[in-house]
C-alpha cells in the first residue's frame, strides 16, 4: 500500500517536472512555431541564476520564483530582439540560429561560471509514507506546476492579453488589420516563454544541480512532449506530459531507467503514428 502511494507521488512529480520543463517550449514553439533549440540553455540560465542569487543571500524561494524567471525573461527579450525576430516564418534558419545560440550560451557559461559551481540543497525536508521517505520539495514542484498551469489557463482564456495572444497566433495578418502589432505580441510571448524556462531551471536546480551542459538532458524530451501534445498548448502540454511521464516512470519502476526512456520515446512514436497532429489534433480540439 505504501509502495502504491509512493509510486503515485513519484508519477505526479515526474509528470509535473516534465510539464514544467516543456512549458516554456510549449509557449515558444506551440504558439509561435519557433523551434528554439536554445530552450535547454534557458533552463540552464535559470538554474545558474537561482544558485547565484541564493548564494548571495536572497531567500531560495524568492530566487526561484522571482529572480530566475525575471533574469531569463530579460535575456529572452534581448535574444528575441537581436536574433529571433529577424527570422520569423523561416523555420530552418531559426533552428540554425538558435542552435548556434545554444552553443554560444554553453560556451559563455563555461567560461564565466565554470563547471564546478557549488549547488544549493533542496529546502523543506521530507515526510514519511510508511517505510519510505519522500521529499517535500518534490511535492512543492507539483504544487507550483499546478498553480502555473491554472494561471496560464486563466490568463489565456479570460484576459484581453490572452485573447490578443491567441488571436495573433491563429492569424497574425487578421490581428494586425485589427490594430494589433504582431511583433509586440511575439516579443511578449517569447519573453514569457523564456521566463517559464527560467522558472523550470530554477525549480529543478536543487534536484539536478547546474552545469553549463545541463540543458541537453532536457531539450529532446521537451520537444517530443510538446509535439505529442499538438496544437492546443495547455491541454496538449498537460495530456502529453501526463501520458509520457506516467509511461516513462512506471516503466522505470518496473525495469530500468534505460527501458523507461525507451518506453517514453516508443509511446511518443506510437502516438504520433496514429495522431500525427498530436493528442489535441484529435481530442479536446476546441481547448486552449
Amino acid at each position: 500500500m505504501d509502495y502504491v502511494i509512493v509510486l503515485i507521488l513519484q508519477i505526479l512529480f515526474s509528470v509535473s517536472s516534465l510539464a514544467l520543463v516543456c512549458a516554456g517550449l510549449a509557449v515558444i514553439f506551440g504558439m509561435m512555431r519557433v523551434i528554439n533549440l536554445a530552450h535547454g540553455e534557458f533552463i540552464m540560465l535559470g538554474g545558474f541564476t537561482t544558485v547565484f542569487a541564493t548564494q548571495a543571500g536572497i531567500p531560495i524561494v524568492v530566487s526561484m520564483l522571482v529572480v530566475a524567471p525575471a533574469i531569463v525573461a530579460v535575456i529572452g527579450f534581448v535574444i528575441e530582439r537581436l536574433v529571433v525576430r529577424h527570422l520569423y516564418g523561416r523555420m530552418i534558419d531559426t533552428m540554425l540560429a538558435t542552435w548556434g545560440l545554444s552553443l554560444l550560451l554553453i560556451g559563455a557559461a563555461t567560461m564565466l561560471f565554470g563547471n564546478s559551481v557549488a549547488g544549493i540543497s533542496a529546502p523543506f525536508g521530507s515526510f514519511t509514507v510508511g517505510q519510505y521517505r519522500v521529499s517535500v520539495y518534490e511535492m512543492f514542484i507539483v504544487a507550483v506546476t499546478l498553480v502555473l498551469l491554472i494561471g496560464c489557463y486563466l490568463l489565456l482564456r479570460f484576459t484581453r492579453l490572452g485573447l490578443i495572444a491567441r488571436g495573433t497566433m491563429q492569424n497574425s495578418e487578421m490581428a494586425a488589420s485589427l490594430g494589433i502589432s504582431p511583433s509586440k505580441v511575439y516579443s511578449v510571448t517569447f519573453t514569457a516563454g523564456a521566463a517559464l524556462s527560467g522558472l523550470a531551471g530554477a525549480l529543478l536546480a536543487p534536484l539536478s544541480g547546474v552545469v553549463p551542459t545541463m540543458g541537453k538532458a532536457y531539450v529532446a524530451k521537451a520537444f517530443i512532449t510538446v509535439i505529442s501534445g499538438g496544437e492546443a498548448i495547455l491541454t496538449g502540454l498537460v495530456s502529453a506530459s501526463g501520458l509520457l511521464g506516467s509511461v516513462g516512470t512506471l516503466t522505470t519502476f518496473a525495469t530500468t531507467p534505460v527501458v523507461g526512456d525507451a518506453a517514453l520515446l516508443f509511446a511518443a512514436i506510437i502516438l504520433l503514428r496514429f495522431l500525427p497532429n498530436g493528442i489535441t489534433g484529435r481530442f479536446f480540439r476546441r481547448s486552449i
Partner: protein
C-alpha cells in the same frame, strides 16, 4: 539604425571568435627544435570536469621539465587537442597527432569508450600512448601505459574496509551505463561476495539521466546495508541531491571508486556528500612533503584558478614524468627504446608517492588511500603501500606475449 546594427553584429562576431578560438588547438610554443607530444583530453562538454585538472597537471609537468632545460637539450612542445566530449573527435585528433604532427607520445582519453577508440589507432600508427585515468582494468597492449588505478588496487581494499566498519552484508550497486560501470560493478560484486556479502541489486544509468526518484524508492524498498556508487559525470550528481532532498542523507553508508574525481564532493553540499568512502592513489588532502611541494608549484602556476587535484589529475602528472624520464634514460624519443626503458623498472616519485611501471601489464604499482568525505574534502583514513594491478596481471602478460592487443573484460571473476 542599420549602421548601429552592423556594429552590433560585428562586435558580436568578434566576441564569438574570441570565445571559440582558444578551444581548438593551443600550443605551448612554436615547433622547432623540440620534442612534440600531444594531449587529447576533454576540456569542454560534459566530461570537462575530469579533463580540465588533467590538462593543468600535464602543463605543469611539461613546464617544470622545460624550465630545467628540457629533454636531451630540447624543449617539450605539448600540443593540446580538445575533443569536446565527442568520441568522433578523439579518433580524428589521434590520427592528426600521429600522422601530421608525428608526436613522440599521446596522453589522454577519459572514458573507457574514448580510450578504446584511440588505443588501437595509436598502436597501428606506432605512436606511444599513455592513459592517465583510473578504469576497470584489463587493457593489454605493449604500446599502451596506464598510470591510473584498477579495481584490484582500489575496490579490493575499499569493499572489506567499509563492510567491516558498518558490519554490512547487503550491498546495492548503482553505476554508469557503459563499459566502465558494468565491468567495475562486476568487480564490486566479486569483492563483496569474497568478503561474505551479497549484492542485492545493481542498476545502470545512461550519462544523461538526471531523475533518480524511482531508484531512490527502489533502494528504500530493498533495504540494503551499504550503497556502492559508480556514477559518472555532472548529471549523475543529481542522485545525491535527490537522496538528500528525500531526507535520506546519512541513512545509508555509501562507498565509491569514482566519487570525487569529478569534483562531486566540492559541488555537492556537505550535507549531500558527507560520509562517502572512497579509495584512490591520490587525494589532494595527503599530508606529505612531496604533495605539499607539488600543490605549491601548482598554485604558483595557476593561482586562484588552480583546480582541485584528484587521482586523474595526479595520474596525468605521473604519465608525463614516466615518459620524460624514459626519454632521458633512453637518450631518444623514439618509440621502441622508450617502451623498453619504461619496462625496465621505471619509477616516479610524485605527489602521491612512488609509482612503478609493472613491465608485464604496463600498469602502475602505486600507493592507495582510503578516505571519507567530510566538509567538502577527503579525510584520509588509511593508506596501503605499493599495490599491484593484480586484476590485469591475471590476464595480461606482455613479457610472454608482447604482441597481445586485447581489452580483457576479466570474465573469470564473474561470481
Amino acid at each position: 539604425m542599420s549602421l548601429k546594427r552592423r556594429t552590433v553584429l560585428k562586435s558580436g562576431a568578434a566576441m564569438i571568435g574570441t570565445l571559440a578560438a582558444p578551444g581548438l588547438i593551443t600550443r605551448a610554443q612554436a615547433a622547432g627544435d623540440t620534442i612534440k607530444i600531444a594531449n587529447i583530453t576533454d576540456v569542454s562538454g560534459g566530461l570537462d570536469i575530469y579533463g580540465q585538472p588533467q590538462v593543468a597537471t600535464m602543463q605543469l609537468a611539461v613546464d617544470e621539465i622545460n624550465q630545467k632545460g628540457g629533454l636531451l637539450g630540447k624543449q617539450i612542445d605539448l600540443i593540446s587537442y580538445d575533443p569536446q566530449s565527442d568520441l568522433q573527435l578523439y579518433t580524428q585528433f589521434a590520427t592528426e597527432a600521429a600522422t601530421r604532427e608525428r608526436v613522440s607520445a599521446v596522453f589522454g582519453g577519459i572514458t573507457s569508450a574514448s580510450r578504446e577508440a584511440i588505443r588501437p589507432l595509436l598502436r597501428r600508427y606506432q605512436t606511444l600512448y599513455f592513459y592517465p585515468t583510473l578504469y576497470e582494468g584489463g587493457a593489454c597492449d605493449r604500446n599502451y601505459f596506464c598510470t591510473g588505478t584498477t579495481p584490484a588496487q582500489t575496490i579490493e581494499k575499499l569493499v572489506p574496509h567499509v563492510m567491516d566498519k558498518f558490519n554490512g552484508k547487503k550491498v546495492y550497486v548503482i553505476a554508469a551505463d557503459y563499459n566502465y560501470g558494468w565491468i567495475s560493478a562486476r568487480w564490486v560484486k566479486h569483492y563483496v561476495e569474497s568478503h561474505g556479502g551479497e549484492v542485492v541489486a545493481d542498476e545502470y544509468f545512461p550519462l544523461d539521466v538526471t531523475e533518480f526518484g524511482p531508484t531512490i524508492k527502489n533502494i528504500q524498498a530493498a533495504k540494503p546495508d551499504l550503497l556502492y556508487t559508480l556514477l559518472v559525470g555532472g548529471n549523475h550528481m543529481s542522485f545525491f541531491r535527490q537522496w538528500a532532498a528525500s531526507g535520506l542523507a546519512g541513512s545509508l553508508p555509501m562507498f565509491s571508486t569514482d566519487f570525487g574525481v569529478g569534483n562531486e564532493h566540492i559541488v555537492l553540499s556537505s550535507e549531500e556528500s558527507d560520509g562517502m568512502y572512497a579509495a584512490y592513489a591520490y587525494m589532494q588532502e595527503l599530508d606529505t612533503p612531496a604533495n605539499m611541494a607539488f600543490l605549491e608549484r601548482l598554485n604558483s602556476k595557476f593561482g586562484a584558478g588552480a583546480p582541485y587535484i584528484n587521482e586523474l589529475a595526479s595520474a596525468a602528472y605521473y604519465a608525463i614524468y614516466h615518459w620524460a624520464q624514459a626519454v632521458e634514460k633512453a637518450g631518444t624519443a623514439d618509440r621502441m627504446p622508450v617502451i623498453e626503458t619504461l619496462e625496465a623498472n621505471s619509477v616516479v616519485d610524485g605527489p602521491g608517492g612512488k609509482s612503478t611501471i609493472d613491465p608485464a601489464t604496463h600498469h602502475c604499482i602505486q600507493d592507495v588511500h582510503i578516505g571519507v568525505v567530510k566538509d567538502n574534502a577527503f579525510d584520509v583514513l588509511k593508506s596501503f603501500d605499493q599495490l599491484a594491478p593484480t586484476d590485469t596481471a591475471e590476464v595480461c602478460d606482455l613479457i610472454a606475449n608482447p604482441d597481445d592487443n586485447t581489452h580483457y573484460t576479466i570474465t573469470s571473476r564473474d561470481g
